[in-house]
Amino acid sequence: MSASDEEIHELVRQEAGDCLRRMESNLLALESGDGGAEEIDAILRDAHSVKGSAAMIGWQQATTLASGIEDRMEQAREQGALAADQVDPLLRAVDELGRALQVEPAAEAPKPAASPAPTIRVPAAKVDRMLDVVGETVLYHRRLEHALGDTLRDGRQASEELDMGEQLLDELQDSVIQMRTLPLRTITDSLPRAVRDLASQEGKEVELTIDGAETQLDRVILDGISETIVHVLRNAVAHGIEEAGERESAGKPQAGRVELRAGRRGRLVAIEVVDDGRGVSPELLARAEQEGSLVDILAETGFSTAEEVTDVAGRGVGLDAVKRHVESLGGGLELKSETGRGTEVTLLLPITLALMKVLLFERGGHPFGLPMTSVGRVVAVADTTSLGNRPSLELEGQVVPLSDLGQLIGAAAAPLPRNPPAIVIESPGRRLAVACDELLGEEEVVIKSLGAILSGMPGFLGAAILGDGRIALVLDPNHLLKAPTEAMAIGQSEETDGRMVARVLVVDDQFSARELQRSILETAGHRVEVARDGREALARIGEIADLDLVLTDVQMPEMDGFELLEAIRASEEHGSLPVVIVTTLGDDASRRRGVEAGADAYIVKEEFDQQALLETIERLAGR
């Protein structure tokens, strides 16, 4: 197990907790005489589930305990009833299993060859103060360098010392910024439960999976973003995911699926919330195509993809708030949707609020900055005489509106020079070229508030103090883009590196087992799809054209792993698809059945080894 799998441990515990509670109430039902064969089967299933998860992550004691309960329930099933004197010992066993699940990781999952690093607790305000001072020191250094200017040429040693100082300061600043970043998990841990509760309020079944909870973000950003994420999740549950009946007739699994995925996207962190619900209407999509941006349309108040707005979330109002919040942090909001297939909302956030790469330029004798994340490119405006009433540029065959920065923000400035440089500001769906007098270059700056009176002013992200002591106002690109502009779609490209990337379908009825395998595979760079039983898996196999391999559990409802394997082998189209069986069934008969049915590999959960799994996949998928 890698150390980063604490997330999985927590998942296993949560899931097992549900199983244990159900086992308990079913045992009590049996004891009171209200229960029968159904309850016995349910307990058996739950015990089996807990055993599977525990075995997979190597929690020996819990595995043994769950297995013991399973054995006793097997007997009860054969006898057709649970003897009354068996209830008490079984309840005690369930309690013991609960305790084992709580303590086990500490006892059995020490990080290999590394004692835990000592930690200290520091009030956040102290770190904030430190970051401020470090930022000031960096600026001080720049001023010093600027002030020394010419004299540096004569003193080589002084110049070297200054360079050294700059390096040290960079490192210091980095390390302090890291002190202030926390993993996203600090705000996502409570979300699966919150989503479950929201869904049950709506009479729906929705499962939330979280991926990338280790992604680091500035504490200041995390503080504010939690509520915003809940807002987006609420939208997905209330408006995205359909009622069970509607899902069934659409051929979707009864339980809705919401995924929260976080990860770096260049200099930003992207937090994606993806649901497999109804998506937005074709009419809205058509309107978005005409008007440029689905986000903007949905962020207008009064829009909802559901027929009615429920008390859980009024989509329109909510999305507007979400958009404003991420934009105020210097980020952005993206939204993709496919009618009938689902919606994907992406919050783009800067990693830290303390430092920002900006493009500096001058207009009317004053410096301004724009976040590099918003700058697409810089062009020279060929003919300034074209700056008439409706000026525009042609870029890659598309028309981009052109504005004079001075006019755009109302800054007093002399007319632009001939052939002025223009900065193309980009956001999904929109582009705008802004002309200025002169480009000053790219610089990493400390963003400061404009102060008590001006900090709430729209249009500015803040101010940056430059090396020469001047103040550059840092403009809010989203505010500049507010001016009505031509619609424009910006294509996205997928990056690939040289490594082998397999597309793998993971089939397991257990959430934790699926997610464990998913996290291992995705960490190794593979692309993962999931299905929760054989039938769903067959449907997915038909849909995914470039599937390389199937990893399947054996014991699942609807259609089990062996039946799935047989169905794949019997299929003309997918008959040769590599299939790996991952199961708790380690006995020879089961292995034989797997091999006879045509499994390419057989992995027993108790012997689960991450590296072996990855090697198996590379070997089979690479054929």
Partner: protein, 134 residues
């Protein structure tokens, strides 16, 4: 509250700021105008690495500004701000007895050496700027 005040001259008139709220007096310095800001905001200034807004005290008081040369930096709950003044006259105690004045920006006025000195209510001034329309 201390009776010590910073006396300033603005457009030929005399005003005083309670010294408790005053951080320092500085040169007007280079101001960076902030487009779209209220008219009384002259711009922002770099004060030893801090960005502070600078307001024309004359404009705030409805006077015709002369040539401000200095700023009085005042501390407020949410940060600090500079008030541009023509000159700083002195720092000293003002007589306690205060005349009532009918101005939202003054807490009172006192006679000093035959000159009427208005005592500025810094909080009231700043909150009027912070909430536009006042």
């Amino acid at each position: 509250m201390s009776r010590v005040h910073v006396r300033v001259r603005v457009a030929g008139e005399h005003y005083a700021l309670p010294v408790d709220g005053v951080l320092e007096v500085a040169e007007l310095g280079d101001l960076t105008p902030v487009p779209g800001s209220p008219p009384e905001v002259m711009g922002v200034r770099n004060l030893r690495g801090r960005v502070i807004p600078v307001m024309a005290l004359a404009t705030l008081l409805g006077l015709t500004a002369e040539e401000p040369e200095r700023i009085v930096v005042a501390e407020l709950g949410t940060g600090s701000a500079g008030f541009a003044v023509d000159a700083v006259v002195d720092v000293g105690e003002l007589p306690g007895a205060s005349e009532q004045v009918d101005s939202p920006y003054l807490t009172g006025a006192v006679l000093v050496d035959g000159l009427l000195v208005g005592i500025l209510d810094v909080d009231a001034i700043l909150s009027s700027v912070a909430s536009p329309g006042a």
